[in-house]
């Protein structure tokens, strides 16, 4: 479909992330239940929803990829569309030439990547449907680096790694578990429909986690942290959306 697509097979992807072994041996419950289980009937339903989804996804299916003819005439901008942050605006005016992404926490070599560094990594292009939890959906082409390959460029994750946390310029934060991290379609996108990712859609880098709803696809990423527990981070629920009261697992 695209000459820019890297030749990444699912096998290579899975083998490349050392955490998968740990996931299968020790962290199995991570795959089936959210980091914080809410109380009452809602929490029980959360666990049922997530474990059923993950059970059906045992072979890591890809989200549907569409042909170019399905790309929406315009991709909506929603939520935060232009962070009111002096340093961020400076980066925008410099086309992110001096922007850098720290990748830290439980990786073997904590590193900082410039946008050029990230673009030099293998590219994945995917035409997928963004499914907003609000009800809208739009198909777009996303260009970026598979998250697992970026983590590999930081030396790979340590065996005790369980979650990857994304921090955004506007104070938003979000996290995903290793089951989603190792998935080939989980990419950090810097391109949209053949162009640089626009500011309104989260420039310079946003998460694409195609099997979960829009609110997990955090925009304006400014740092990445690999952790073994979400307990010490902000309010401990694993994301601002789950702090508000949305289910941490956005698959439904």
């Amino acid at each position: 479909m695209s000459e820019r697509r890297a030749g990444i097979t699912r096998r290579r992807m899975l083998v490349s992330v050392p955490a998968l072994g740990g996931l299968l041996v020790t962290g199995c419950s991570d795959t089936f239940r959210p980091p914080v289980v809410r109380s009452g009937l809602i929490g029980a339903a959360d666990v049922l929803t997530m474990s059923t989804s993950r059970w059906l996804q045992a072979d890591q299916p890809l989200a549907r990829e569409y042909g170019r003819e399905h790309i929406a005439p315009e991709f909506p901008t929603w939520g935060q569309t232009n962070p009111d942050d002096e340093r961020y605006q400076q980066h925008v005016s410099e086309q992110f030439r001096h922007w850098a992404l720290p990748v830290g926490g439980l990786v073997e070599q904590p590193s900082s990547f410039s946008l050029a560094d990230i673009k030099a990594l293998p590219v994945r292009t995917q035409i997928t449907a963004h499914v907003c939890e609000q009800g809208w959906s739009a198909i777009a082409e996303w260009i970026g680096v598979p998250l697992s390959l970026l983590l590999e460029a930081a030396g790979g994750v340590k065996p005790e790694a369980r979650y990857v946390v994304f921090h955004a310029v506007d104070g938003w934060y979000e996290s995903i578990d290793m089951f989603e991290v190792v998935h080939p379609q989980t990419i950090l996108a810097y391109g949209l429909n053949g162009e640089e990712l626009p500011v309104g859609n989260g420039a310079p880098l946003r998460l694409r986690v195609e099997r979960q709803c829009g609110y997990k696809n955090i925009k304006f990423i400014q740092s990445i942290e690999v952790v073994d527990s979400l307990a010490g981070i902000r309010r401990g629920t694993g994301g601002l959306s789950s702090d508000f009261g949305f289910h941490w697992f956005g698959g439904v």
Binding site: Q134, S137, V252
Partner: protein, 250 residues
């Protein structure tokens, strides 16, 4: 309670000439029915909340504000902002998915039990001779009289009633479940045929919303029928299982 009503609790209760009461509904039907009332009520309310936060409908894979819509609530007098103030999608999503599980588990228990005991065949499935045009038109005429002693005393479902219950159980519920799952990215990835079946997520969402209207119509007619055929007796029968035969039927 059950034994004082009648010695047997078979699925086909026969009106008795010596007893004023018959056992009409088994405890499984009664428990499942009232759980359904709670789950269905929450599903409807939470579904409306979710819809109000994005009060437009589209066809196909794509749909967003500004994309050609097939239905806009704003065309019917409620602006996007007004709808958004009424709807709380976070509350809606939490309760919709919670009671979807309650509804599903309850429904599976009901279906397995009904298939096992023959409840479907005995009570819900219309007999072939009842489906003849003359029989159906006769029943329809009967219905247009609103209320009648025969209906007030009926201890079996009428053919139209059987057809509508069967439609809800075997057609409506599976379609609502599938159109709901087709909207969930986790399930659409695991079962891509869901998207092919309905021709896209927005089509599934639109069909799910139309299904909500069908559900409301069903509830309205169902409650109206209960009111017209001896409300107290009917509701009591769905709570205690015992149905009091009207004088003229004894």
């Amino acid at each position: 309670m059950e034994s004082s009503a009648t010695a047997s609790t078979t699925a086909e209760p026969a009106p008795s000439r010596t007893r004023r009461w018959v056992a009409l509904h088994g405890y499984n039907v009664r428990i499942c029915h009232w759980i359904n009332v709670i789950a269905g009520g929450y599903l409807l309310l939470s579904g409306i909340h979710i819809f109000l936060d994005f009060p437009e409908l589209y066809w196909g894979h794509t749909g967003y504000q500004g994309y050609p819509a097939i239905f806009r609530l704003s065309d019917w007098g409620l602006s996007w902002d007004e709808a958004g103030e009424l709807g709380n999608r976070m509350w809606g999503r939490n309760y919709h998915f919670t009671f979807a599980w309650v509804f599903l588990i309850n429904g599976v228990i009901y279906a397995v039990w009904s298939a096992w005991t023959g409840h479907f065949r005995a009570r819900l499935w219309p007999a072939r001779e009842d489906l003849r045009a003359s029989a159906l038109s006769g029943e329809l005429r009967e219905h247009l009289r609103w209320s009648s002693p025969a209906r007030t005393a009926a201890t079996r479902y009428g053919t139209l009633q059987k057809l509508s219950y069967s439609f809800m159980v075997f057609v409506f519920v599976p379609l609502m479940l599938l159109t709901g799952l087709a909207q969930a990215p986790a399930f659409a990835a695991a079962w891509p045929w869901l998207l092919d079946l309905f021709g896209g997520r927005q089509t599934a969402r639109t069909l799910h919303t139309i299904g909500t209207v069908v559900f409301v119509l069903f509830v309205v007619v169902h409650v109206l029928e209960v009111l017209l055929s001896g409300a107290v007796n009917r509701i009591r029968a769905m709570v205690t299982g015992r149905f009091r035969l009207p004088e003229e039927a004894q």
